[in-house]
């Protein structure tokens, strides 16, 4: 994708809900302060399933629905699966920050593109437990609209009267990266002025977690990106969103500008379901950096895919060395999945929301769970506590199962 250099893409609002907090600001504060949200939880599949089991995940705590109902001035009840409710909550926050709630701008030339690796798993699993477990022939009549992967974007369009292109995208752990790229392309092409982008994921159910454990990529303890002794990823639930907006449009209406999206690199490994390839990662990162005009003089905050699996982290460290060469260790490296878990389809958007605040504040949040150096992950990891940084550029990676890669570059806003 080529962005029109005449049409810069600003970020004018962000939203987040995850184990670290119910807002983008709370999420950032927890990440910055090194407060992690991964903990062991017990999952009981009920009387028709096997025994309950305990696993390390990062869950959203507290009531998301009540405050959202109050903010929207209408009841939501049980009308949405958690993955759609989370998407609606973060969209409300981002649109509110951008000053776009009830704005006529949403009626035309505004897109909504969200990414999800899965769909309404909580509702689907409950339906199948009724069907196969309880042998009940009749399932809840709105099971289909609750489960479908486009439920969140439809809910967002209906609640905020957004009438432009609205759809969901899916590419496993890169889903919200592709959503951001797609939203940006609507603006760059001139088709839209605003794109609400991001993702959400809610897959911490007894059955789905067992499916993940089948891959043997899940940690029994906690996520330890780039560390010696790392033993896998931890699933997180939540959502994150950004309002992308043509900079001229944002400036004309006096909107706050939190950063600029200036590079997008998309690639496919065409290689393996679960093993990453060096070539695919290098290709995406190089493309994004070239488009953004990142030079050797730039200090870059690298928000890694950093899942804490032995294979990903080794491959990503090698890719960073391949892209930046002798300068590789000049760039601070963060891996916030160690705090909020892996939000799969929402991971890129959440890390973007955190990363934008990091370059805005000039502080890099620490990698958690680190036990000691791995010689194959020789990077400038931010460890222990938040570190003051010079970087005004954020490079954000996502390398999904199935070999689907997105790298995005954001910059601190300058006129």
């Amino acid at each position: 994708m080529t962005t029109d250099p005449g049409r810069r893409i600003a970020v004018t609002g962000v939203g987040a809900v995850c184990a670290l907090g119910h807002t983008a600001a709370d999420t950032w504060a927890a990440a910055r302060d090194g407060r992690g949200g991964i903990a062991r939880h017990r999952f009981d599949p009920g009387s028709n399933g096997p025994d309950a089991h305990t696993t390390a995940v990062a869950l959203v705590h507290g009531d998301v629905v009540g405050p959202l109902e109050a903010a929207l001035g209408r009841r939501l009840g049980h009308s949405l699966d958690p993955f759609a409710m989370l998407a609606l909550a973060v969209s409300h926050e981002a649109l509110s920050q951008a000053g776009l709630l009830a704005s006529p701008s949403l009626e035309r030339r505004t897109a909504v593109v969200l990414g999800h690796g899965f769909a309404g798993i909580h509702s689907l699993e409950a339906a199948y437990e009724r069907f196969y477990g309880q042998k009940a022939a009749k399932l809840h009549p709105v099971t289909v609209p609750k489960v479908m992967v486009s439920a969140p974007v439809s809910a967002i369009a209906m609640n905020f009267s957004i009438k432009g292109p609205v759809f969901a995208v899916s590419s496993a752990c890169s889903s919200s990266g592709h959503a951001i790229a797609q939203g940006a392309s609507f603006i760059a092409s001139g088709q839209c002025d605003i794109a609400l982008v991001g993702g959400s994921e809610a897959i911490a159910t007894p059955g789905c977690l067992r499916a993940w454990e089948g891959l043997q990529a899940m940690t029994p303890t906690t996520c330890r990106p780039f560390s010696a002794g790392r033993d896998g990823m931890a699933i997180g639930e939540g959502g994150a969103s950004m309002v992308l907006e043509a900079a001229d449009h944002a400036l004309a209406r006096g909107a706050p500008i939190l950063g600029e999206l200036c590079g997008i690199g998309l690639s496919s490994d065409a290689f393996h379901w679960t093993q990453p390839s060096l070539e695919g990662a290098v290709s995406a990162m190089t493309m994004a950096c070239e488009q953004a005009g990142v030079t050797g003089a730039d200090s870059v905050l690298i928000s890694t895919h950093g899942t804490g699996t032995p294979l990903n982290d080794r491959n990503e460290a090698a890719a960073i060395h391949a892209v930046f060469g002798a300068n590789a260790k000049r760039h601070p490296v963060i891996a916030t999945k160690s705090a909020h878990g892996h939000l799969i389809g929402a991971a890129t958007a959440l890390q973007g929301v955190i990363g934008l605040q990091a370059i805005g504040a000039g502080l890099a949040p620490p990698v958690l769970g680190w036990l000691g150096p791995d010689p194959e992950c020789d990077l400038d990891l931010v460890l222990g506590e938040a570190r003051p940084i010079e970087a005004e550029v954020l490079l954000l990676n996502a390398f999904a199962f199935g070999g689907l890669n997105t790298s995005l570059v954001f910059r601190r806003w300058r006129h």
Partner: protein, 84 residues
Amino acid sequence: MTALCDELINLISDEALVDKDKLTPGATLADTGLDSVDVISITFAVEEKYGVEIADDAFADIANFGQLLSILEAAVEKKAHSPP
């Protein structure tokens, strides 16, 4: 109005996210804000809560909310009075 009616109106309001004030006996379904999917969801919720079965075409000919409520009430009462 019976206690069961009150209970059913609360359930309908919660399930379909409609204002209880609109759920008056003479109101048409359009007046109440209930659509066809709401009616199916309400039926499902009543079946679940009270362990009753309501035919798919039970509401085919209703003219107002009072009739919908009567059908639900009758189904629940029939179950209550049937031998275990």
